[in-house]
Symmetry: C2
Subunit: 249 residues, 2 copies
């Protein structure tokens, strides 16, 4: 385990919880219910120079069902208890500029975040996630596109695992900052038809030292069908030398 | 559970173990060690009319390491105990023509198998799987491309889960023909660097009625690093009315 932690530590210094989108794009302004947090200089500088696209904002491929749930979740951000998590197509785009400079990280334009690797809107994963850091909860809406097929007409078990790993893992990261997945256990309950919008929620069950135990579910948008449930164990990694990010638990 | 089985049953009649590639392409002839099984009329007819591409055969993106392990696995097919499993980019392309006609299935060109949804060779998953039906074992070689990123430079936990779900699930299907995943539990041991070739193996641990218990591992090509291990529970589905496929366990 120690050898593996050492191997991951350098890579994971920048694999932290995605930040708010601090660069309101024209798309932001269309959706009046989206609250824009105060601008922070460092992130804005990165944002403007890189022209990142925030994929957590609606596009024309989103179904009416998807939009309704996005709007409901966005409503929850108005009092500040929940925040929408921006989503970019490259892992490094989620990294604060300070860390990029501190560790002299090189951008590799040839890589893509697994969940954002399809260029055509609506063909792969479409999603937006919202975090309630105080209550240690995450909620998101996910649309499974036609390129995620397993059984004909239904989402692949691996694509469901991917969404659950993300739903649980991002929450664990919001608590412990630098984590690696140790275990992910999924009970598949009911298949997910391609094209449908699914609600994903996760919560922190307990924290024991560096271990963060998280669980979550994927349900139909009307909450009547339980598609899958999962538990995850995430291990917090030690801080790297010189890392001025948040302290360990 | 019964409601869910009913919902899946129609979809899963054609979600069966992929057949051998029965249409030797020019690529086949390059690799002399690939054994071509006797031609079967129905599949050849489908094959010729659809011009399916078999993605389990090497392309220029495969690393030397990947090729070496593919050739070793292909060697194991010479005495007939192992067989290479063809892989197409659409689930329905794996379906015998008889079933397509029997159930009047419509091809939907707009869908893609989750593991074959990236057009550019080498960017997503590259893999070939081999089955030993008598010993109830599966072995495969998997190359994780740069579009499968999680932590910078490493494969996403969801992409690892996807490969394990496939490695275990295809083996369960080879035993029980029509299955749905009930549980998948993964222990992540060591991250997988993007671009590396990884060996995946799975075996059937036991069968209890309609339950098939399978386990498997992902290891580095030299077998020195255990990347992940998984157990899976797959439930055999009842035969649909008129289904003349293999009988239940």
């Amino acid at each position: 385990m120690l050898r593996n932690v050492s191997r991951l530590r350098k890579a994971l210094i920048q694999w932290t919880i995605p930040r708010h989108d601090l660069c309101p794009s024209p798309a932001d302004r269309v959706f009046q219910s989206v609250s824009i947090p105060p601008v922070q200089k460092a992130v804005v500088r990165l944002c403007h120079s890189e022209k990142r696209k925030d994929y957590s904002l609606p596009n024309s491929s989103w179904s009416q069902e998807m939009m309704e749930h996005f709007n409901k979740l966005t409503e929850m951000t108005k009092d500040g208890t929940w925040q929408r998590l921006s989503s970019y197509r490259n892992t490094l785009e989620h990294t604060p500029e300070g860390l990029i400079k501190q560790y002299n990280l090189k951008k590799d334009e040839g890589t893509r975040l697994f969940l954002r690797n399809i260029d055509e809107e609506g063909k792969g994963f479409e999603y937006a996630m919202f975090l309630n850091k105080q209550e240690k909860k995450l909620a998101g809406v996910f649309q499974f596109g036609p390129y995620l097929e397993g059984p004909p007409g239904f989402a692949h078990g691996g694509s469901i695992a991917t969404v659950l790993d993300t739903t649980l893992g991002i929450l664990a990261m919001s608590i412990a900052f630098r984590v690696m997945t140790a275990n992910l256990s999924i009970n598949y309950k009911s298949p997910i038809p391609l094209g449908s919008a699914v609600m994903g929620t996760s919560k922190v069950d307990r924290i024991e030292g560096r271990k963060v135990f998280v669980s979550g579910v994927l349900q139909s948008a009307d909450r009547k069908i339980l598609h899958a449930e999962a538990t995850g164990l995430f291990i917090q990694l030690p801080k790297a030398p010189g890392d001025d990010g948040p302290s360990p638990l």
